[in-house]
C-alpha cells in the first residue's frame, strides 16, 4: 500500500510516502531546477559529507503521483521520530544552529533555505540533521529570506522563552504548530530583554512590524507598482550572523539540583545500584533489542547501561526538562550516538497535533519498542497520578514487547514521601496486586529482588495477541 505521509502536504516541491515500511520522497517536476542545482552545485555533497543533511539515493520506483513526478528518492532512515516540544533546551538550540549553518553553506553555493521549520530537523545518530532535501531554492540576489519569520517562530522565540522566562515554556510549541507567535513571545519576555540587541530586533521589533503592516494593502496593479523589497547578500549574511549570535548567547541555568548529584535522592545503596545496572545489562544482552524505551529515565544512567548493547537505540524519556538537558549535554560530551533523550510526561504524553490530528504523531502511536524499561517509575503513575495498575499494564503493553518494570513498595521512603500529605487510597498497590493487574497483558519472565532495598524488578513479555 502506498500512502502519502499525512504531514507532507504544505510544499508543492514534493512529498514523502510510505511503501510498506520504507519511506520515499517524490520530487515533483516544479522542483526540478532547484533539485538539479542542489546536486550540481556540490551543495548536496558538502552538506551530507558533514552530516548536516540526510543522504538519499535516487531510486527507480513507480511514483505515487506520476503526472507530477521528476524523481523518487529514498532517504536514509531515521530510527525514531521526535518533535521540538520533546527536546531539551540544548537540543532545540543545536537544531537552530544547524539550520543557520546550513543556510550559510547554501548561500555560498548560490542557494537558500526556503523554509526553516523545526520539524525538518530530526536527531539521527546523536546529532541534529536536516531531513527535508527539498528545502533549498536558488538564491536570487537581493531577495529577503523568506523563512526568516518561520525561523524566529520555530527556534528563536521558544529558546528565548526557555532561557529568559522558564524552561517549561518550550511546551507552548505543542499549541502552536508553526512556532510561537512573535507577539506572544514579545509579551512574555521580561523587560530586561530590551537591552539585548538580538532579541529586541528579531522578536520585539519583528512583532511590532508584523502588527504595523498586518493590514497593509496589497500593491495595486502596474500603475502603482510596488518596489520589490531588497536585501543585499551582505545584509542577508548579517541577518544570519545576528540570529546566530542571539541564539549562541542564550543559555539555560540548571536550577534544580547540582549536576553530579542529580541521582542522589534515590533510595539505593551502591550494591543495589550496581545490581540494578547488572539486571539492565543482562536483559538487553539476552533480548538484543533494536529499540529500547527508557521511561522515567532521569539523566539516563540506565539508558547508558542499555545503550552498551551494539545496534540498539535507547529513547531516554523523562518528565523533568533539566534532567533531559543534563542527559543530552552528557551524551554530547561523551559522543554517545545511540541514546535519544526526550522530554515526555507519561501522565500527559505528546498528543497527535496538526491538520486532522495527523501531522505529528502522539507518543503512543510511534514506533513500538522491543524493550520498555520503567525503573523507579510506577509510584509516580499509580500514586502521584492515581492511575490504576491495570491501566498502567495496558498502556505499557501498547508501547513495546518486553517490559522491565521496577516495583517500589509503600514502605519505600520515596512512596512514603508521595503519601505524606494525602490519604492512602491505594489498596491494590502491592507486589501481588501488580502481578495480578499485569497478568491479562503480560507473561512473567523473570523476577529479581534488589538487595539492600525492598524493591523488585520484573521482566514481562507481552502476551501474543493472535
Amino acid at each position: 500500500m502506498n500512502e502519502r505521509v499525512a504531514a507532507s502536504f504544505r510544499d508543492p516541491s514534493g512529498f514523502i510516502f510510505l511503501q510498506g515500511d520504507t519511506l520515499y520522497r517524490q520530487v515533483n517536476k516544479v522542483y526540478q531546477q532547484d533539485y538539479d542545482l542542489l546536486i550540481s552545485s556540490g551543495l548536496y555533497d558538502q552538506l551530507t559529507k558533514h552530516n548536516l543533511l540526510i543522504p538519499h539515493q535516487e531510486v527507480e520506483l513507480s511514483p505515487l503521483l506520476p503526472d507530477l513526478v521528476y524523481k523518487i528518492l529514498q532517504p536514509e532512515a531515521v530510527e525514531y521520530i521526535s518533535y521540538p516540544y520533546e527536546w531539551s533546551f540544548s537540543q532545540l538550540k543545536d537544531a537552530a544552529l544547524l539550520t543557520l549553518r546550513i543556510q550559510k553553506t547554501a548561500l555560498e553555493a548560490g542557494m537558500v533555505l526556503k523554509d526553516a521549520s523545526a520539524y525538518n530537523i530530526q536527531f539521527h545518530s546523536g546529532r541534529p540533521i536536516l531531513i527535508d532535501s527539498l528545502s533549498f531554492a536558488k538564491y536570487e540576489e537581493g531577495t529577503p529570506w523568506i523563512a526568516y519569520r518561520q525561523f524566529c517562530q520555530h527556534f528563536l522565540a521558544p529558546l528565548a522563552l526557555m532561557s529568559k522566562v522558564d524552561v517549561r515554556m518550550g511546551s507552548l510549541l505543542v499549541n502552536h504548530i508553526d512556532g510561537i507567535p512573535l507577539d506572544l513571545c514579545s509579551r512574555l519576555l521580561p523587560r530586561s530583554i530590551r537591552l539585548n540587541f538580538g532579541l529586541s530586533t528579531h522578536i520585539h521589533m519583528q512583532a511590532w512590524a508584523q502588527k504595523r503592516y498586518a493590514n497593509a494593502s496589497a500593491p495595486k496593479e502596474q500603475g502603482q507598482a510596488a518596489q520589490k523589497p531588497r536585501v543585499t547578500k551582505l545584509g542577508l549574511i548579517g541577518l544570519i550572523d545576528s540570529l546566530e549570535g542571539a541564539i549562541n548567547r542564550l543559555s539555560l541555568k540548571i536550577t534544580g539540583k547540582d549536576w553530579a548529584n542529580y541521582y542522589s535522592d534515590t533510595n539505593y545503596s551502591e550494591a543495589a545500584f550496581d545490581e540494578k545496572k547488572k539486571i539492565v545489562a543482562d536483559t538487553v544482552q539476552a533480548l538484543q533489542p533494536k529499540l529500547v524505551l527508557d521511561l522515567g529515565a532521569n539523566t539516563g544512567i540506565f539508558s547508558r547501561e542499555a545503550a552498551r548493547q551494539a545496534g540498539c537505540l535507547v529513547v531516554s524519556a523523562d518528565i523533568d526538562p533539566e534532567a533531559v538537558e543534563i542527559s543530552y549535554q552528557q551524551l554530547k560530551k561523551d559522543q554517545q550516538a545511540n541514546i535519544l533523550p526526550l522530554l515526555i510526561d507519561l501522565n500527559n504524553p505528546s498528543p497527535a497535533i496538526g491538520w486532522g490530528n495527523k501531522e505529528r504523531d502522539s507518543f503512543f502511536s510511534r514506533r513500538q519498542a522491543d524493550l520498555v524499561m520503567a525503573l523507579a517509575l510506577i509510584h509516580h503513575l499509580a500514586i502521584a497520578n492515581n492511575v490504576p495498575l491495570g491501566d498502567i499494564a495496558r498502556s505499557m503493553a501498547n508501547l513495546g514487547r518486553f517490559l522491565l518494570i521496577e516495583f517500589v513498595p509503600k514502605q519505600d521512603s520515596q512512596v512514603q514521601r508521595l503519601l505524606r500529605s494525602r490519604d492512602d487510597i491505594f489498596g491494590e498497590y502491592t507486589l501481588s496486586g501488580l502481578l495480578e493487574a499485569f497478568e491479562p497483558y503480560f507473561d512473567l519472565r523473570k523476577q529479581y529482588s534488589i538487595p539492600e532495598s525492598r524493591r523488585t524488578i520484573i521482566l514481562f513479555q507481552r502476551k501474543s495477541t493472535d
Partner: protein, 52 residues
C-alpha cells in the same frame, strides 16, 4: 515559494539588513587588523625565546 514570509517580517529585514551587513564588514575588517597584530607579536616574541 510556498511560505508566507509575512509583510512585516520582510519590511523589518529591509530595515535592519543595512546595519547588520555593515556589522559583517566591521567584523571582517577587525579580524584582519587583529591578524596583523597577532603575526607581529609572533615575530617579536620569537627572537626573545631563542635568546632564553
Amino acid at each position: 515559494m510556498y511560505l508566507d514570509p509575512g509583510t512585516g517580517s520582510v519590511i523589518l529585514q529591509v530595515i535592519i539588513a543595512g546595519v547588520l551587513g555593515a556589522g559583517v564588514l566591521v567584523k571582517v575588517f577587525w579580524k584582519k587588523i587583529k591578524s596583523v597584530f597577532v603575526k607581529k607579536e609572533d615575530i617579536e616574541t620569537k627572537p626573545e625565546n631563542i635568546e632564553e
